[in-house]
Subunit: 341 residues, 2 copies
């Protein structure tokens, strides 16, 4: 794997340097942190501050979700590594306006531990916080153990819903309740076609044969459900939609948001080819798509593959999902799809 | 190279099918074409229609530039192949509101020929058109033969400026004049780290050694300026900026827009690392960056590499560049950078 890179040791710090140089009216550094960024206008008076974090190597996740209608601050770690608790605490402190801080992140052991420690530090400083953990990856644990599942691209929906709720000046409890509903209603599944390489390691994180794919593989190369021969786009979409629809109850006329996410190297053309079958599968079941998000929302550097996420909507979630948001690292929001009976 | 694909023969048609299914409130098919799309609200009364086209395999180029403040219609061909003249003509006809059609596309022989033929057909039908060809790639011909250069990611700036001018209800002559100024003031250069594979061919379009890169390589794998050992990010940025700054006169306090574009497989992290040095190179010369665009704006499927484009601004170009635009395939517009003396 060839990269545009200086010293691999400086990968994260230089990436942050570039981000701030490119978008000085959007991001600023959080004092005393090395890898903490916040939105230039945060904290916003009266608003709950939302903070996330996780490993590097997933852009636009996590830093790219900072912005109006989204998150206030992010602490990141090395590639595929959790940020330290101290930096999470400083990120939270920097965006607390006295209305409390909401931690929202994906379910990985290191992140859970460090965010918990940060919450304890905040408590001792008199800053109120609450936490929700996103666990949308159906491949990583059976349905009965949903809370053990990993967090993947479905984070988009949780961020979007929580961000819009906080922007409406809702209380910490209300923001958490909205996020929890989004988490409860989100399912994702991924397929990997090729590995990625951690810059400091220099060799692929796993191996896949020339004609193989792995259904359900995680965004760090965690094992999935099954390794099979590479299928056609329609076969891949059917297998993925089968896993999703078996895991969440969707009835005729239910409305969903759909995300077809590229893992890094997979061209946008292929995501649209995949979406054809995703859309027709839902249409066959008379499930309505309210909005379709396609593009790179959570990546694994140069991994080839895709994930599909579904969010089951109710009137509140629909309103929050469709509220405005801004980040220069995110695609322009898709328009609402016309309702076809 | 592994792809999410059905029959390679159906690559383009299925991609378009997915695009329309995902964004039915944005794109619609142009009657009697197989690969022509227009914006649902085009033609707009009183507005010049802008039409582009080119080969497939470059998303978000070309289809992704259809939208308010941008283009009205696009005709695309097979992967890396020109669209037929007939489809270009039909695309133009479908968005003419009686104020004429402006053709704006990249300089490739097949496209030039087919757009010329389309313009002749339109003329015989009494529809007025004019044409500008984007030739921003400094690597493809010497400065004295600028008009022979290829069109690459600098198309973003030409589309953006022409689209904003047309949205202001300017005349066909005025739209062309604004686009020509943007073309005159734009320079790009690319670097390729790995090839891509045309689905119907099934093998890489060129080969690059494990430690090689090619400076100035085109977005279809056309030969560049030199093939060298893979440099560091800072070395790559310096070499690229050297080529750009030698080709356009930029003085202290001049203002530019910059685009650091990913060719497909290169992660966003690496574009930001590259931008660090791009930004500091310009700052050293006291050249001001008005806006920095980073992400995928013109790709070569899964090619690894990047391009840098610079647009020299004047007050009119700045105003047009910063006007609003919308497409679900494009990133949210970057904010204006604060002016630092």
């Amino acid at each position: 794997m060839k990269r545009i890179l200086n010293d691999p040791v400086d990968y994260v710090v230089e990436m942050i340097g570039g981000l701030i140089a490119a978008h000085p009216n959007h991001f600023c550094r959080i004092p005393s942190t090395t890898r903490g960024l916040k939105h230039v206008d945060s904290p916003v008076n009266g608003k709950v501050g939302i903070v996330t974090g996780g490993g590097s190597g997933h852009l636009p996740l996590f830093l790219g979700y900072v912005g109006p209608g989204l998150l206030d601050a992010v602490a990141i770690g090395n590639v595929f590594s959790s940020p330290p608790a101290e930096e999470i605490m400083l990120a939270a402190k920097s965006v607390d306006s006295g209305n409390g801080v909401f931690f929202l992140f994906g379910n990985y052991a290191g992140d859970v531990m460090n965010f918990d420690m940060a919450a304890e530090m905040l408590q001792s400083m008199g800053i109120q916080s609450s936490t929700s953990v996103v666990h949308d990856d159906v491949a990583s644990s059976p349905r009965e153990e949903r809370e053990n599942r990993r967090g993947v691209a479905g984070l988009l929906f949780a961020y979007k819903v929580a961000g819009a709720k906080a922007a409406s000046m809702a209380s910490l409890e209300e923001v958490k309740a909205a996020a929890d509903k989004a988490i409860h209603n989100t399912r994702s599944v991924g397929v990997a076609l090729s590995p990625c390489t951690i810059p400091e390691v220099g060799r692929p994180s796993f191996e896949l044969g020339e004609d193989e794919m792995e259904l359900g593989m995680g965004i760090h190369g965690e094992p999935g459900i099954e390794r099979t021969a590479l299928g056609t786009a329609d076969e891949i979409a059917s297998a993925m939609m089968g896993k999703l629809l078996a895991d969440i109850e969707l009835d005729e006329r239910d409305e969903v948001a759909v995300l077809v996410n590229g893992l890094g190297a997979t061209p946008l053309e292929e995501l649209y080819i995949l979406f054809r079958k995703v859309g027709s599968t839902l249409a066959d079941r008379r499930i309505r798509i309210n909005r379709a998000f396609l593009g790179e929302y959570a990546t694994s550097m140069e991994m080839a593959g895709a994930s599909i996420s579904v969010l089951k909507l109710d009137p509140e979630l629909k309103k929050l999902l469709n509220a405005p948001y801004y980040s220069p690292l995110l695609l322009q929001p898709p328009k609402e799809c016309p309702y076809v009976e």
